[in-house]
Amino acid sequence: MKKVTFLLITILLLSNIGCSSVQVPYVAVREAKFRSERTQSERIKLPLTTESRKRLIDFLKAGGDTSRVGSEIADPEAERHYAQLLNMLSDARNLSLQDLTEKQTFKDWFPDIPIRQVIDAREEAPPIIDPVAVTDGKYWWIFYHRHKQLTELLVVKAIPHEIKR
């Protein structure tokens, strides 16, 4: 039994050495119906206003599917669930780049490390200044910034990594 365990550990260690390359994580912007804007000109400006907040809430209540906005409520909890986050995004004092990176002001919603590689095939070229993409599990929240201030927001419905059976 000990020999088998030793052999298994050895195989595991060797396989880890052999697979030492690391994938660079990136986020892809999804199709129009699953994002909070149809074109870049409609991108939500930060801080949120009453109007842009309502637009975002409508999108989230529709489960991130714009074809349902105004006709179906896919997520009745959305307004309550995201209320505090949207409050914070309405306040310029929470909108420095550091709030997303070093200060982790939004860690209750976005617990994972931000991803800086965002692929948006609508663009002519990759972004020069990389946006910051964070996820709450249901959506990717992609923040654009200028001079270290968060200036714009794109929310995209996330694709679940795993399917529960």
């Binding site: 030492s20 390359s21 690391v22 660079v24 994580p25 990136y26 780049l97 990176t101 490390i113 931000p114 991803i115 800086r116 590689q117 692929i119 002519e124 070229a125 990759p126 972004p127 020069i128 200044i129 990389d130 910034h145 200028r146 001079h147 270290k148």
Partner: protein
Amino acid sequence: MHDRLLTILQSVANIRLVASLRDERLGFPDKKDLRIFIPDIHLISEKRRKQGGFVFATNHTELLTSLALALTDLKTKKANDETIVVYQLGDFLDLWREAPGVDEQFDFASRIKDDHEDLVLALMGEKLKARFLLGNHDFDLYRWPDYSSWDRRYYLPDTSLQSPSTVLFHGDIFDWVEWFPDKIQDILVYLFAPHLSPNDYRLGQMQTLIRQSHGKRNYRTYIQDQRPATVGLIREDMTDNIPERWNVQTKDSSSPENLKFLESAYNYCIKANTDYQMNLKVAVIGHTHHARIAVHETDEGDLFTLIDCGAWIENCIADGESSSAPNAQIAALSANEARIYQLGPK
């Protein structure tokens, strides 16, 4: 076009001439084709610069931003039948100093860019359309989707079917030639052979060599040399015509450090000429942080030229000067004439 470039440069900086060479054997005769080379910049984030206690950081970043904007202006005003291309010769972002152990961190390039936004926007802007080489301090970017168009070498001219006469490298390849002569033969094929791009496996091999080259160095006290690079006699007066030959390094008249990589570059280019039916006469590099034009002239009258474009980090010192100056150089090639300028704030 050299004169127009000089006028633009003088509008943003004090300009001195490091070296010039006008010779029809350079093999780049087009008078309407100007190539501009910006060497090593080595940007790191401000936080990392303080944490790491690095002696050297990028010199004159505001001037470099103004330069990039001025070059954008030059490019946007060119005539339709003219070509102006700006190349950054590698080591733009110094990932190696920003994040030792890069595999565990994925945001370090973004962090650097966040701290130098105006410069990055100017240099990487769509209007300038600068082309970027991967250097040994930012080679890992080849794995990032945003940088997949950055390359390991360019050939010139590239506007006709003429056989290439000029090759652009970062220059670290010549370190490998010296340090790992047995390991680079496969890689050289991918660096020199035209119409052949290195696949992931070869890029992985290059990455391994680069990591071996770095060894355990942390670059805290210097990257290339603690001492200022000796750039010879710098020409202050830019009002007269630029001389046909100024401060050109030769085997007969120059010290070995001013000829560094000349023979390696010559030998590999001659071999590439034979192997791939090319006509390489000029190699343009950065990497050494030592601005100079060095030539190899054969008894048959052939000329091979190494244009080492310098850097925007560490220092240089000119003959006859008692104090060093921050490296801040660019080079240009047009109409069979190569020039290297030293820039300083106005």
